[in-house]
């Protein structure tokens, strides 16, 4: 199918099925729900709007003239002092509700005596398969515009991170590569509330294996830190330098 459409054979087309099926339905429904009336009203609808406008204007003119002829006056609401007081009390209560809940009660989103450790970085894992040269027969089977001499797998290994604080392995996570073909970057974004004071942090990263612990970590950092209350320490990764960072 991919060859027929001239699309890279590594792209799994079935991922596009929901888009192909649901997009037209979605836009059809949206259009008929009301967009049509806004952007593309039929001549009949335009004509009805014009007629309605005219009829309303005629009705309003008649009404005004009848009001003048009959000597009727539009009702003006007269309020007693007690009613005005009641209105004032209602508005005051409404103002109290608005004024109070616009800033109270206070909410503690993070314990003030604790620090925050954040693991946040984006890093691409290694390719699952190494590139190989295509044979002449393999090249002949491909469409002319797709005959690249090297065949490289797009899929990458996930990135695995393990954190340890004062010898306690408190986090181990796997970040899968982005993209339908799992060929994008892997991202971590985690936060941990930790006690303040001095700690020894160890960070291990694997970017070429399926599971943590399969061989030595590809990257490692071990460092002493001193964290204050509400302080944020970010564990990142410098892709240019190829090393774990602490900020």
């Amino acid at each position: 199918m991919n060859e027929l459409l001239g699309i890279d054979p590594d792209i799994p087309l079935f991922h596009l099925i929901p888009f192909v099926v649901f997009s037209p339905i979605f836009f059809y429904v949206l259009y008929n729900l009301g967009l049509k009336e806004i952007f593309n009203p039929s001549p009949e609808v335009r004509e009805q709007r014009r007629l309605h406008k005219e009829a309303l204007a005629r009705e309003a003119a008649e009404r005004t003239s009848k009001l003048q002829d009959s000597g009727l006056k539009l009702k003006t609401a007269k309020r007693t002092p007690l009613q005005l007081l009641g209105q004032g009390v209602t508005f005051a209560l409404f103002a109290l509700v608005i004024g109070y809940f616009s800033g109270a009660p206070a909410y503690v989103s993070h314990p003030p005596e604790k620090a925050l450790l954040m693991l946040s970085f984006t890093h691409a894992g290694q390719h699952v398969e190494k590139c190989k040269k295509r044979s002449r027969e393999e090249l002949a089977k491909l469409a002319p515009n797709m005959r690249a001499p090297m065949s490289c797998s797009r899929e990458r290994w996930p990135v695995i991170a393990q954190l340890s604080l004062d010898g306690d392995n408190f986090f181990q996570g796997v970040a899968t590569p982005a993209g339908f073909s799992k060929d994008g970057h892997s991202s971590f974004y985690e936060d941990f509330s930790v006690s303040t004071g001095k700690h020894r942090i160890k960070v291990y990263l694997w970017d070429g294996v399926a599971n943590a612990g399969q061989g030595a970590p590809d990257f490692m950092l071990e460092q002493d830190v001193d964290l204050g209350p509400r302080e944020i320490l970010v564990i990142g990764f410098d892709n240019e330098a190829g090393r774990i960072t602490l900020e």
Binding site: G34, L56, Q87, F94, I98, V108, Y189, G236
Partner: protein, 505 residues
């Protein structure tokens, strides 16, 4: 419950100013306050990361008499929008005004809820204080859960250096385009409503504005400490109207909150059909009685009638045509048709536009039967015929000696000639018209049209020969049956006095 509450609010405000019946219009009005004050605040606002907080502090403290008040009005009116919006859709749900032809208005209201939250929350980011830092990061983390961004957007707030002026400008644009899109949605929301009411009564608008100004002076909106991306925001004074979901996010996580938000939205959107409203047959046009006068076309509260070129060759330019999908069978069109008169006896009673389930002929038959009941139970006191509405105080409940009642889908269905007709019958000394409370007609405009027809300013008019003292209009909701009974009692007394004074016509 809500009707009792409304009745309580009627006392200080009167039916027309009752804020519980004006929640939609108040939401529109608060939007205009937020928009107008937002423009002023934006003029003084510095759109850079480094300058935003300081510019708002200057506005709040050094120019408290104008900038500070504007900022407070901006916040409090936005908060009030949440309250009025929630009350508005809750009320429409409780009063069963969201199904059938009203589905579009209900359905398009759901994106408005989302966009109002987006608009309000994005405004809090711009203050760039500790609250803004917390809200911005949590919002981005919530969005990142979807996995649609190549790199988590929340990383823009990771360190003091990672937040750029360019990204901050993007947040500013979000707070400008969000409310603009909100206005667009609000327009769509009322687009299919015939003669929509989007402005509250002036008194209510003035009262609200005064309330906001007093609140702004008494409790000015202030900022938290400036944002510092190297420190975690800890104790925060949340604006609970917009940020009620953030503690849920902290406690249950992004996935649960997405599930709740999307799930509840889908349920809300599907509600008009679970279950759908079963309605009577739509109105039908009798072409031999229709001269294309456009009265029904103008009066229909749901835009269900259109005027199309004549199809029967009669010498009129147009004829009325009913769109069955939009017709609620309220009968207001029957009341507006100049041909709807009960006096014809030589030919079959047919009008230009009629309800199959309650035709004009049947309405006359019911009227005559009610008159017969009054005569049968004559006690010597004035007889009163009550015309009521199915969605208001139960007219039937006040029937008794000398009082008979009949009800219809909307009081706007009653042609004024029926009042005249009823008063011309033996035994009927007075006619009482009742229906939904002012500004609260189930069919939107029925009681308003009726008042105008009786006042002689809307076609078809009540004839001048009708003694107005023998006619009483009293609007009462479903829970005000006792008030209706008391009103009838008072009306009969006044009729007795009228006869005693020899003023009977």
């Amino acid at each position: 419950m809500i009707l009792h509450l409304e009745a309580a609010f009627d006392r200080p405000f009167g039916p027309q100013w009752n804020p519980l019946r004006q929640m939609g219009t108040l939401t529109f009005f608060y939007y205009w306050i937020v928009a107008a004050t937002g423009i002023y605040v934006y003029i003084l606002f510095d759109t850079t990361v480094g300058g935003a907080y300081q510019s708002i502090e200057v506005m709040t403290n050094q120019q408290w008499y104008l900038g500070g008040i504007m900022r407070s009005l901006h916040r409090y009116a936005a908060d009030a929008m949440i309250v009025t919006m929630v009350l508005h859709f809750s009320r429409e749900f409780i009063m069963d005004r969201y199904r059938d032809v009203r589905w579009f208005t209900w359905f398009t209201g759901v994106p408005i809820i989302w966009m109002l939250f987006v608009s309000g929350i994005s405004g809090y980011w711009l203050v760039w204080d500790m609250l803004a830092q917390y809200v911005a990061i949590a919002s981005m983390e919530w969005l990142d859960w979807l996995g649609i961004f190549g790199e988590p957007v929340a990383t823009n707030f990771l360190t003091p250096d990672s937040l750029t002026d360019r990204f901050f400008t993007l947040l500013v644009f979000m707070h400008i385009f969000g409310p603009l899109f909100l206005l667009f949605l609000m327009w769509i929301h009322v687009m299919r409503v015939s003669q929509p009411k989007i402005n509250p009564p002036r008194g209510l608008a003035f009262g609200s504005l005064l309330m906001f100004v007093v609140l702004a002076l008494a409790k000015p909106a202030v900022s938290h400490a400036p944002a510092d991306l190297s420190m975690v925001p800890a104790e925060l004074e949340l604006d609970w109207f917009y940020m009620m979901f953030y503690p849920v996010f902290d406690a249950w996580g992004a996935g649960t909150l997405w599930g709740l938000a999307v799930g509840l939205s889908l349920i809300l959107m599907a509600m008009p059909w679970i279950p759908p409203l079963r309605r009577p047959k739509p109105a039908v046009v009798h072409l031999d009685k229709c001269n294309g006068c456009t009265r029904c076309f103008v009066d229909c509260p749901f835009g269900a009638i259109s005027m199309v070129p004549r199809t029967d060759g009669r010498p009129f330019e147009r004829e009325a045509q009913v769109d069955a999908d939009l017709c609620t069978s309220c009968g207001i069109c029957v009341g507006s048709c100049p041909v709807s008169t009960p006096y014809r006896r030589t030919e079959e009673l047919v009008t230009g536009i009629d309800l199959p389930d309650l035709s004009l002929k049947r309405l006359r038959d019911k009227t005559l039967k009610a008159v017969a009941r009054i005569e049968a139970n004559d006690t010597g006191r004035p007889g009163v015929l009550v015309f009521g509405c199915d969605f208001a105080a139960d007219a039937k409940s006040v029937e008794g000696d000398g009082v008979a009642a009949l009800s219809m889908p909307c009081i706007g269905m009653l042609p004024p000639s029926f009042m005249d007709f009823a008063l011309s019958q033996d035994g009927v000394d007075g006619v009482l018209i009742t229906g939904c409370q002012s500004c609260d007609c189930f069919s939107r405009l029925g009681n308003r049209w009726t008042e105008e027809r009786i006042a002689g300013v809307r076609d078809p008019y009540l004839r001048k020969r009708v003694t107005r003292a023998r006619l009483k209009v009293f609007w009462a909701s479903r829970v005000q049956g006792e008030s209706l009974g008391a009103e009838i009692k008072g009306f009969r007394n006044s009729l007795e006095n009228l006869e005693g004074d020899g003023e009977a016509s």
